[in-house]
């Protein structure tokens, strides 16, 4: 048993406790309250400290990409659509990147295939600490990755293959979904006659999961590309998230009306160039959140250093975001978007004990530092007091 005592607790469950305790047992949150009886439990005195749920990065490639892309295992660029591949097999659980995200308070990441292909493959959700992929992975799959715009164009256009244009990209997405729909129809028509079963197709099996709304599409899109996926998702009646989403401020109404599962914004801190990088507008999260869109912030790790997850949250504060709403964008919102909110994302009884203890107010005080990171009730990082 472990008890965190006298902390200011941001629960990400519509409640802030000025001075409260959290009791942890068997990796779960057993109780939250004031002056809890915790006889025999190890104690962390968190008086004057701030406690939040473990942070969640809903869009990352850590351990699957080297920082300089000298090695990578997340872009299977042998075909513009590879729905059959799964990121879970490319996660290097011994990667040092996990140590680094733990130090920044990130306890869960959605690890996604890259954006080299239009259809990239399945995304999984992993904790930052564990001894094996089975240990670390809390849900697989959480989404089917897709990418619009310059990335797939750059890969295939150069080879004189489709997609060479945005029209080509839209076509590849629609064709994939149409084939999936055909496949699903044939399978459902089989009934008792197994001989009518269409030949097994691993990729289309995964597309069917999207069509049956078991998982959403996770779509790399910027600027007006987001309209493309909004319209295709409507046509096929599938769920989706808008990832990166630079330029969202041009399309508030479209995004709100689309009923998308969420907007996962970032990374910012990039140069402005005409086209995809023409408008970087993280302030749009304030308005999208106000209008009911579930918003989250990403590092696109290892693209950004994990410390910058909170720095970007600070940018939302700079442009008028409310602190509780902004902390939700790092915790419960990404948990909902990737469908793991039954286990993580908030400090509530019964949830996994994934907790971060900060000195200073994260996303407000620029010098707020992670003092402890706790995953499944285990202290996996404690800041060296000499630092």
């Amino acid at each position: 048993m472990l008890v965190i005592k006298s902390a200011k607790i941001y629960t990400s469950a519509d409640r802030v406790i000025e001075k409260g305790d959290i009791l942890i047992e068997d990796g779960k949150i057993k109780d939250i309250g004031t002056s809890l009886n915790a006889k025999g439990a190890a104690t962390i005195d968190a008086d004057g400290l701030i406690v939040t749920p473990g942070l969640i990065d809903a869009h990352s490639h850590i351990s699957g990409f080297e920082t300089d892309m000298s090695d990578q295992d997340l872009n299977e660029m042998t075909n513009n659509a590879t729905p059959q591949v799964e990121a879970i097999y490319s996660v290097d659980t011994a990667s040092k990147m996990f140590e680094r995200v733990i130090q920044s308070g990130i306890t869960t990441s959605a690890i996604a295939p890259g954006s080299g292909n239009v259809v990239g493959g399945l995304v999984c959700a992993v904790k930052s600490y564990g001894h094996s992929i089975e240990d670390m992975c809390i849900k697989n799959p959480v989404a089917l990755k897709m990418a619009l715009g310059g990335n797939p164009k750059g890969v295939y256009g150069k080879r004189n293959q489709m997609p060479m244009t945005r029209m080509g990209i839209a076509h590849v997405i629609r064709e994939t979904l149409i084939k999936g729909r055909e496949y699903l129809r044939k399978k459902e028509a089989v009934k008792d006659d197994e001989s009518k079963m269409p030949p097994f197709d691993l990729g289309l099996e995964n597309v069917c999961r999207v069509l049956k709304k078991e998982i959403p599409l996770k779509v790399h899109c910027e600027q007006f590309d987001m309209l493309t996926i909004i319209s295709i998702a409507k046509e096929f009646d599938v769920e989706f998230t808008l990832d990166h989403a630079w330029g969202a401020s041009d399309f508030y109404d479209d995004i709100v009306e689309s009923g998308c599962k969420g907007v996962i914004y970032g990374p910012i801190g990039v140069p402005l160039l005409p086209g995809e990088c023409g408008k970087i507008d993280i302030y749009s999260l304030v308005e999208l959140d106000r209008r009911g869109v579930t918003c989250a912030i990403m590092t696109d790790g290892p693209i950004l250093n994990p410390d910058v997850l909170i720095v970007q949250a600070g940018e939302v504060i700079r442009f008028g975001g409310n602190i509780e709403r902004v902390l939700n964008m790092l915790t419960i919102n990404p948990a909902k978007i990737i469908g793991v909110d039954d286990r993580v994302g908030s400090i509530e009884k019964g949830k996994d004990a994934d907790i971060v203890i900060f000195k200073g107010m994260p996303a407000v005080d620029t010098n707020a530092t992670v003092e402890y990171t706790i995953i499944n009730g285990e202290v996996v990082y404690r800041r060296n007091n000499n630092n």
């Binding site: 680094r100 910012i268 005080d365």
Partner: protein, 384 residues
Amino acid sequence: MILIKNGTVHDGKGQVSQNIDILIEGTKIKAVDYSIEISDDVEIVDAKNKEIFPGFIESLNVWGCMGPGWEDNDLNEHSDPITPEMNVLYAFDQDGMAFQRVFEYGVTCAGITPTTSNVIGGHAAVFKTYGKHPYEMLVKEKAAMVASITDATKKVYGKRNVSPMTKMGAFALLKEALIKAYNYDSSKEEVDYDAKCEALRKVLNKEIPLFINCNTKSEMDAVELALRDFSIDIVFTGAFGIDESTAKITEKKTGVILGDLTNAMSYKNRQVDFESISNLMKKGIDIAISSCGDLVSSGKESLLWNAILCYKYGLKSEDVVRMITSIPAKLLGVDDKVGSIEAGKDADIVIWTGNPIETYNAVVQGAYINGENVLNSRRNLSCW
């Protein structure tokens, strides 16, 4: 004339004073004092409860020289690993710079560098971050000679089976170029004009510093070892591995420009020892913060984010301010014009609603470059 009244002024040299007035005349700061009385026709800007900083200075970046496409730039003269004769002035597009709107995050001046993937890349220059004409934005041409011995060099040339394929290859090229320039005497009639030697003579004569990109401590130590017989001014850029014993840095008062800490989870930016940096600062070593990587351009937020991370990891707030104002101004050789709020300096002044080093609750309310508030200036509507 503009009178900015009653602000809390961070002068860029470590001093903070409250209720200070700043008088701007034309493009310059005319006076900084308590209760400046002026009867002339003057525009009053009330800065009560506001924090005023000198415009931040990005030491090395590539704004204005990249694009319009991601792959496009005018910096990589990779036809030869030794190109000291290159001058970044000819690569700088004022629209590409202004389009970044970095002044929205308080950045009013930037060192712009040619490639750091050549062993010697050419001349860096210093520009203001807003303007309509590149030569009017220019603060200093040939501010530094940019060099590199990092793996960025071998990644370009090794692949072609051309030197440098290794670090030792890069050092051989660097030394050879400097020795050749040392022996070059253009006054002798029989000596043919050599553009590379001409350019490097300025480094050997200490007219301009050599900015040399190094990531690790051993790279910096190796540079010191290789170049100790030359009398030149060295500034380490990148310099993630710096500590108090690095390259006899304290004896030689070598300057340092820290590389970007926000991009990429790499072994490079993990090794920064902030306690050593703090101790070196106390010993008077000039260390600047930048958001520069190996030609990875950054956004308008990036310099402030780097400053924030340095503060978060233990550097003092006013030291961090110096590291993005007066210190880069000195290392770039433009401290006669910019980098502090003092009478006679260019009126590059930014008014914030809070102290951006210490809180995210701070936005820019006025960004003056050469005495003009450019915060609400026309957005660039060309293809840029």
